[in-house]
């Protein structure tokens, strides 16, 4: 089997086992350029583990993960990020004791070695970019606020913004609307539809209304394997999917 060069992300025969338990079992997943893929599935299906494997947090037992034809399984986390993969975590993962501005500034993809950090200067270009992203994530008026004081939804946005400023080619979002109000969900769906232009996005989500709003293609995971894949309509009418996931 040879992986096509067209795919942004090509996962082949990916398996990870924790003490014999296969959390991900022989998974094959291909994500196209500019595609927004939603991954759904019951709890424990291995959704978050797949993201952990792609971004290097967990090491694969066997299999390959190719990002633009570069093998990711041998790289460490920061190398994968520098290659162009961004990851948002399930619970908002931001620097609570820094300001919103500083959160975004640290995420700006320049001068990421020790010497670079010592000699870092706030150039007009960086300030401009931080403002731009802050406006996009609805936080432009809160740049000086300590990030720990933001509401839960705002923290989620801030983390999305921290990814956005890295300008990754592959963006992975783990339950981006968990814990958000209805209005915030709408704003987030709108935000995602805007930012996924020009990049590939993988979203894990439970909220089916939200999924319908954004998905191009849906993958259903169950017990570490792919149960079904296709458009939202196809997946919703798949009997096996209804049985293990949607039916209840």
């Amino acid at each position: 089997m040879s992986s096509s060069t067209d795919f942004t992300l090509a996962i082949e025969d990916l398996t990870v086992s924790f003490d014999g338990f296969k959390a991900v079992d022989g998974l094959n997943l291909y994500v196209d350029q500019n595609e927004l893929r939603v991954v759904i599935g019951p709890n424990g299906a291995g959704k978050t583990t797949v993201l952990d494997l792609i971004c290097g947090k967990t090491k694969a037992t066997t299999g390959s993960i190719k990002f633009k034809n570069h093998e990711l399984t041998d790289l460490s986390e920061h190398q994968i990020v520098r290659a162009g993969v961004g990851r948002k975590f399930q619970t908002p993962s931001i620097y609570e004791n820094l300001s919103v501005y500083e959160n975004l500034e640290i995420s700006y993809p320049a001068k990421r070695n020790v010497w670079g950090c010592l000699t870092f200067r706030r150039t007009a270009e960086i300030k401009e970019r931080v403002r731009e992203v802050a406006a996009e994530i609805f936080l432009e008026d809160l740049l000086d606020m300590e990030a720990g004081l933001l509401s839960h939804g705002q923290k989620q946005w801030l983390e999305i913004g921290m990814l956005l400023i890295q300008d990754p080619e592959l963006l992975m979002l783990d339950e981006p609307v968990a814990g958000m109000s209805v209005k915030e969900r709408e704003q987030t769906a709108d935000l995602l539809n805007r930012i996924c232009k020009g990049r590939s996005v993988i979203v894990i989500e439970h909220d089916m209304e939200f999924v319908k709003n954004i998905a191009h293609k849906v993958t259903v995971l169950h017990q570490g394997k792919i149960l079904a894949e296709g458009s939202m309509d196809q997946v919703q009418n798949d009997e096996r999917v209804i049985e293990v996931y949607l039916g209840h």
Partner: protein
């Protein structure tokens, strides 16, 4: 926390804090203390180097090193080796069976200077070694630990073990290191008698100048993006990795900087006290250094200096008056700091001192800075006011 952090960036607050500290070290203390007491203060201020280094690595980096005594000691030993070689000229040691080598080597039947002592005949090399030896050791420890993602309490235990190992090594290799007595009887630096009063004054001022320099250097590091990154790492190490940073490199860097800062303190200790021994290397001094930083405030560079001064004044006073109680008091002090004011004196200042200052500002008619108040050394609230 961020309030203190912002003050460290400099601004009016930072400048005032530093100016008051400089006035205390350079003017007030020399004016009121005789040379014996001033020399003691100089010794305390060498511990302040280690306390400042702990602010960097522990307060900001979140890495509790229980082995700063190792680096303090290595810096001190490098300086002591040079001074000892100068004191062991063939004329001075004519009565030994092998003249020209340090006396303790002769007592241990060594007939030749060990190879690693040879370069310490050179003063430039010694100055280089004071920074390089602790720096390289810290780099090796850092690479071995941080690349493997050893952190938290495991790292603390390992640094403590290294402190114990180095002590045992120094004590065990008596012929090479002077053993438990350390390297004693140091007399001159390039023929300049370091035991004379004038030399003690000069060394005190050099020490104070270096300390201010180290604080400025630390401020520069902490106010750069690297300082903000350290704070970010302390809270969300994983997130920093996923922002594209190699976290271990930053930890190694700050650990090495902290080691070299401590080593400068150690070298100044040797010069001012006139000897170096394993009792300044091991676990107990390393933990005492952590207490200095904790009492002063582990997020405050200047607070750490006051912490070192106050705890050591207390130590001298209490160990003279109630020798058997001192250790309990020291332990109690550490527990009290952790429980009741976790941000130390600097934290107290942030909480209460600022309000008091506002009132003073409104009340006062003549603009005299309240520097003299701290002279008593135990007036912690007055000191706390300046600690941030």
């Amino acid at each position: 926390m961020t309030a203190i952090y912002k003050n460290l960036l400099g601004g009016k607050q930072g400048v005032i804090g530093l100016a008051l500290l400089a006035a205390l070290i350079f003017l007030v203390l020399p004016m009121f203390l005789d040379i014996f007491r001033l020399n003691l203060v100089g010794k305390y201020l060498t511990y302040a180097f280690a306390a400042v280094s702990l602010v960097l690595i522990w307060g900001y980096g979140g890495i509790l090193s229980l082995g700063q005594g190792v680096f303090f000691g290595l810096g001190g030993y490098c300086m002591a080796m040079f001074l000892k070689l100068e004191a062991s000229s063939p004329e001075n040691t004519a009565i030994q069976s092998t003249p020209g080598i340090p006396d303790f080597m002769d007592w241990n039947q060594l007939t030749q200077l060990p190879w690693f002592w040879e370069p310490f005949n050179s003063f430039p090399f010694t100055l280089f070694a004071i920074l390089a030896v602790p720096g390289i050791l810290a780099y090796i420890i850092g690479v071995a630990m941080f690349k493997r993602r050893v952190g938290g309490v495991y790292f603390s235990i390992i640094t403590q073990a290294i402190a114990a190992i180095l002590t045992i090594l120094i004590v065990g290799q008596q012929g090479l290191t002077g053993g438990i007595n350390g390297i004693t009887d140091l007399k001159t630096l390039h023929g300049w008698d370091i035991r004379a009063d004038s030399a003690k004054y000069l060394l005190y001022y050099i020490n104070g100048g270096l300390l201010i320099g180290v604080i400025l250097l630390s401020r520069f590091i902490l106010s750069s993006k690297l300082g903000r990154l350290l704070l970010a790492m302390r809270d969300k190490e994983d997130r920093v990795r996923f922002s594209g940073y190699d976290v271990s490199n930053f930890k190694i860097f700050i650990f090495c900087v902290a080691a070299m800062i401590s080593a400068v303190g150690g070298a100044m200790f040797t010069l001012q006290v006139g000897f170096m021994s394993p009792s300044f290397v091991g676990i107990v001094p390393s933990i005492e250094m952590v207490i200095f930083a904790a009492v002063g405030g582990r997020m405050s560079l200047i607070g750490a200096v006051y912490g070192a001064l106050i705890v050591n004044f207390g130590k001298t006073y209490f160990s003279e008056t109630f020798p058997e109680l001192w250790l309990f008091l020291m332990g109690g002090l550490f527990i009290a700091v952790v429980m009741f004011f976790p941000n130390g004196l600097a934290g107290l200042y942030e909480k209460h001192g600022k309000r008091v200052m506002e009132k003073i500002k409104m009340l006062r008619s003549k603009p005299t800075p309240p520097v003299e108040k701290t002279l008593s050394g135990d007036n912690s609230s007055a000191t706390a006011r300046k600690a941030a």
